[in-house]
Amino acid sequence: MGASGTALETSDSATSDSATSDPRAPESRTPASARRQRQAGQGSWWNGLPGLVYLVALVLLPLFIILVYSFLSRAKLGVGVKWQFTLTPYTELLYSESLSGGRSFDPTYLQIIANSFWYALITSVVCLVLAIPIAMWLATRPPERRTALVFAVTIPFWTSLLIRTYSFIIILNDNGPINGALRGIGLIDEPISMLYTPFATVVGLVYTFLPFMILPIYASAERFDFRLAEAAYDLGAGKWTVLRRVVLPSVRPGVIAGLVLVFIPALGSYLAPELLGGGKSSMIANVIAAQFGASRNWPFGAALSVLLLVITLLVLIIFAIVAKRASRAAGRGGWEALL
């Protein structure tokens, strides 16, 4: 699973007008609300009701329960919570309780949150650097080949995240093909330890989320009017100047959308740090999972989840302020290009 709810939303409003009115009829210049009225055979809004009810029950309700749990006490035995209000789950983020009951400042979780941010940030930057060239290259291919190539970019997304992450265990381990190749050409004698390091985690994250960066940038680049580049060449600009001054500013909405689509899911990643980081590079999601697993501290896990959700929302809002049009590009480029 990936990211981008807002992207979906705005992509709808951007295109809904063409869906509800016939652009060919001159009279369709009558107001949109008039066209939205129910027309024969087009169904009705209540067709969507069962789906909405389902999503409320299985998406909104779980979030609400998480919020409630984050203010409850941990169960003494087994799973679940004790129905007693407390703020402990949130203070646990900063303080640890010693056996004697005293509290002391404990930066462990702050460190993990900072790590998560840091990994997500590196992942976003690396994805961006890789994605711009390939997105531009894709956008300049002949149309017939272009669709097939774009599809080729999306295929890995549709394969199992678990297997994709696992594949790097094979690649990065001490006997793996990379170490094998380096030894083979005599560059190293001892294998380089890559697996179970933060490096492996970031490589796994980049691998997982790269398509989410490529697709929105590609969608922007595809709409780029190359006559603008021609005009710039005509005025004496060289290739890199054209790229920097003319092309990149035009694909900015795609870049911003790509950053949202990569940064947010990367921040909440579970599998890459779990399988590739080897416990040395835990992220927020791993701590949450641990609370619902071995640690049996559901309220604390819930509080961390609330924190992750709030961060996600804040990041979304910040990006939305940075570029109002970004999410629209994400809608077209991200999900619509995937499908």
Binding site: A25, A32, A40
Partner: protein, 356 residues
């Protein structure tokens, strides 16, 4: 049934749309219209004038806010679309892309529970009528625009509706194809003697096809009549301007006649309905082909533009206060040059006093 009763009668139909800003648009403002049985009625007007809204109200695709629509004396405005004996040819053709041509045509007949043998016959006959025999097994996407248009026609006509509604059916075709389809439509209308109601914004098309033309402006019908009548005797400045080209001059009607500034006086008895009109300032429309220009070194007008339009020469002249357009067949006279001085005259019978 009374033979002279209209096939379709529209009474005081009003339709208002809400704008998203909370305003209102009167798409139809108390529109009334009678359409004679077996006639070809054209609803003509600029974009957004309400003509398509009226068509959709008749079809049942839009519900009027008030008013009444009768089909052969039976009230239909509260009847659902699928029960009305009225069919539509859509502007976008709206052929069902997942069905073959034959299935498209058969669809409406299946809805009427026509036996399948009869359907087969009717589909064949309909295809033949629009010269598409043998293309029944094609998908719409395999047809040209003109052929799709014919399928849309055949599909609607196969149901033998009381009235056939055509919503800008030719607007997507190129000029040459459109001319061909115009005569084709007229032929079909004559042969089937079904009442046709066609919407268009193209005045040439309206003139070429209609037995009757209803000119729309801003949600109202401003004039109904035969094409020739509407052309020669526009009843308003809007109609004069919208249909063909017209010189609209301001003048004054007094006891003796019509005075047009810088051009002269026309006695009242030579004007159409001249004796009935009240005195006061008026507008007078005159068609360019009724304006005569004569080379005259001391004429009051000066030629400012000369161009060829079709087989005619269109000449624009400037008098002290007016711009006047004249149009004459090009082979008749040697064209004047820009800067020539000319005198301007009208055939008095062609003057038409119009409302504002």
């Amino acid at each position: 049934m009374d033979a002279s009763a209209p096939a379709l009668s529209v009474r005081d139909v009003t339709k208002t749309f809400q704008t998203p800003e909370g305003g209102q648009v009167h798409a139809l403002d108390s529109v009334s219209l009678d359409i004679a049985d077996g006639s070809f009625m054209v609803l003509l007007g600029p974009s957004g004038c309400g003509k398509t809204t009226l068509l959709r109200c008749i079809a049942g695709l839009e519900a009027p806010d008030s008013g009444q629509i009768d089909l052969r004396g039976q009230r239909i405005d509260d009847m659902p679309v699928w029960r009305r004996r009225v069919n539509t040819v859509f502007q976008s053709y709206a052929l069902f892309p997942h069905m073959t041509v034959a299935q498209n045509i058969a669809f409406g007949l299946q809805m009427d529970k026509v036996p399948s043998a009869a359907i087969k016959r009717k589909v064949e006959a309909s295809l033949e009528m629009v010269h598409l025999s043998g293309l029944g097994s094609r998908k719409p996407s395999q047809l040209s625009g003109g052929q799709q248009q014919r399928v849309a026609l055949a599909r609607a006509l196969a149901k033998e509706p009381e009235v056939l509604l055509l919503d800008e059916p030719l607007s997507a075709l190129d000029l040459k194809l459109r001319r061909g389809m115009q005569s084709e439509l007229k032929r079909l209308q004559r042969e089937t003697s079904i009442t046709f109601v066609l919407v268009t914004h193209d005045q040439d098309e309206a003139m070429a096809m209609g037995d009757q033309v209803a000119v729309f402006n801003a949600g109202r019908i401003v004039q109904v009549g035969e094409p020739r009548e509407v052309y020669l005797r526009p009843n308003s400045r809007f109609v004069a301007d919208f249909i063909g080209e017209a010189n609209v001059l301001t003048g004054r009607l007094d006891t003796y006649g019509l005075v047009i500034e810088s051009l002269g006086l026309v006695p009242r008895d030579r004007l159409l309905d001249g004796t009935l009109l009240p005195a006061g300032p008026v507008h007078v429309a005159v068609r360019p082909e009724n304006v005569t220009l004569d080379r005259d070194p001391v004429g009051t007008a000066k030629v400012t533009d000369v161009s060829y339009v079709g087989g005619d020469i269109r000449v624009e002249v400037q008098t002290a206060s007016l711009t006047i357009v004249s149009r004459v067949p090009s082979q008749r006279v040697a064209p004047p040059s820009i800067g020539d001085r000319v005198s301007v005259s009208f055939a008095v019978e062609s003057l038409c006093v119009v409302a504002d």
